[in-house]
């Protein structure tokens, strides 16, 4: 009797600890970005590819633009505006020369993705984000959202591209 009470107590304590741990990891993984309240969508790193880009100048980065299934289907079918539920992820890494690769080519011609810079998301919800073209915007670095000032710059920059439902990226050929 005593033994079973002890076992029960241990199980309850362990369960409580697991619930606490699960919540703690959720709160660190799931901080919401200011203004739009967008959180990092789980599994986005495995999403399908929409396109790539290299931006010189201050950013000097290599980027991959990924989409969830709704967004990728819309891109492939050329469907505009994007349907609600579309999410586009833009992942950026430092643009670094690859000494390893250049040894093979015999000259400095190869650049690869270095350290991660940040990740940005666009989330389509035509009702929730009606005042910003139907899109919510977010930027995170190491899981932490950027501040409100940065998030205020997203929509004004995207706004002119009305022909593409304010999305810059085209589906790569």
């Amino acid at each position: 009797m005593r033994w079973s009470a002890c076992l029960l107590g241990t199980v309850v304590a362990l369960s409580a600890a697991l619930v606490y741990l699960a919540r703690a990891s959720e709160s660190t993984q799931g901080a919401a970005a200011p203004i739009f309240g967008v959180r990092i969508p789980p599994g986005y790193r495995d999403w399908k590819l929409i396109s790539v880009a290299h931006e010189e100048g201050n950013n000097n980065d290599l980027r991959a633009v990924l989409g969830n299934d709704i967004a990728v289907q819309a891109f492939r079918e050329g469907k505009l505006p994007f349907p609600d539920g579309s999410i586009i992820a833009r992942v950026a890494w430092r643009y670094v020369p690859s000494e390893e690769n250049n040894k093979v080519f015999g000259r400095p011609q190869s650049f690869v993705a270095g350290e991660p810079i940040n990740v940005q998301f666009m989330v389509k919800d035509s009702k929730k984000y009606a005042t910003t073209g139907g899109w919510g915007f977010a930027q995170f670095k190491d899981g932490t959202p950027a501040d409100e000032t940065i998030h205020k710059t997203c929509f004004p920059c995207h706004q002119p591209f009305k022909a593409g439902d304010i999305v810059f990226t085209h589906y790569s050929p």
């Binding site: 590819l49 931006e55 650049f111």
Partner: protein, 186 residues
């Protein structure tokens, strides 16, 4: 008059047949292509839906390196940094694009313009035992004709009638199980 009409119909039919054949040729089924004595394009069916390993730029061309689920899982498990080889069945696709600058976009980013070529790698330690366990293939894209063709001796890298077009270069990274690309962290 009757025979003239018949002749006309025959002519139109022939013209239509030629047009249909032309359309069939222009809509090439890339999955019927195969490097002689090497890999078939069809061994990589569905690569458009694979997840991104990383992006790169080489000799001006923009590239993405995609991996099938076995490849992505291997990277996430710490391969090849943990000293273990990629499992048989792991596949990669590297898509090269001719780039263009998007002048009207903020930051004037370089993006894909036209498809240049697609390179494939597949791990099969028995089938490709004599090239580090990897089979390689390269398919060049002709943008004007919208068709692929297997790369040849004059392409980069030169491709013979085998599945070894990448073996010589990739030997330099034998310690990383012959894979140059590292999984882009997030």
């Amino acid at each position: 008059m009757k025979s003239k009409a018949k002749l006309m119909i025959a002519g139109i039919t022939a013209a239509l047949a030629v047009a249909a054949a032309g359309a069939a040729v222009s809509a090439q089924d890339k999955y019927t292509l195969k490097v002689p004595n090497g890999l078939a394009f069809s061994e990589f069916k569905g690569y458009e839906d694979w997840s991104a390993i990383a992006v790169s730029q080489n000799n001006g061309l923009l590239a993405v390196i995609l991996g099938n689920p076995a490849m992505i899982e291997a990277f996430k498990a710490g391969i090849p940094g943990n000293g273990k080889p990629f499992p048989d069945g792991a596949k990669m696709a590297k898509i090269h694009w001719n780039p263009k600058t998007n002048e009207t976009y903020p930051g004037q980013p370089l993006g894909p313009n036209t498809l240049h070529d697609i390179d494939f790698m597949v791990k099969d330690s028995k089938r490709f035992a004599d090239s580090g366990g990897w089979g390689y293939a390269e398919f060049e894209y002709d943008n004007a004709a919208a068709t692929f063709r297997p790369g040849g001796a004059t392409d980069k890298p030169p491709q013979g009638n085998d599945a070894k077009c990448g073996a010589a270069c990739h030997t330099i990274v034998a310690k990383k199980d012959y894979v140059f690309t590292e999984y882009g962290k997030r």
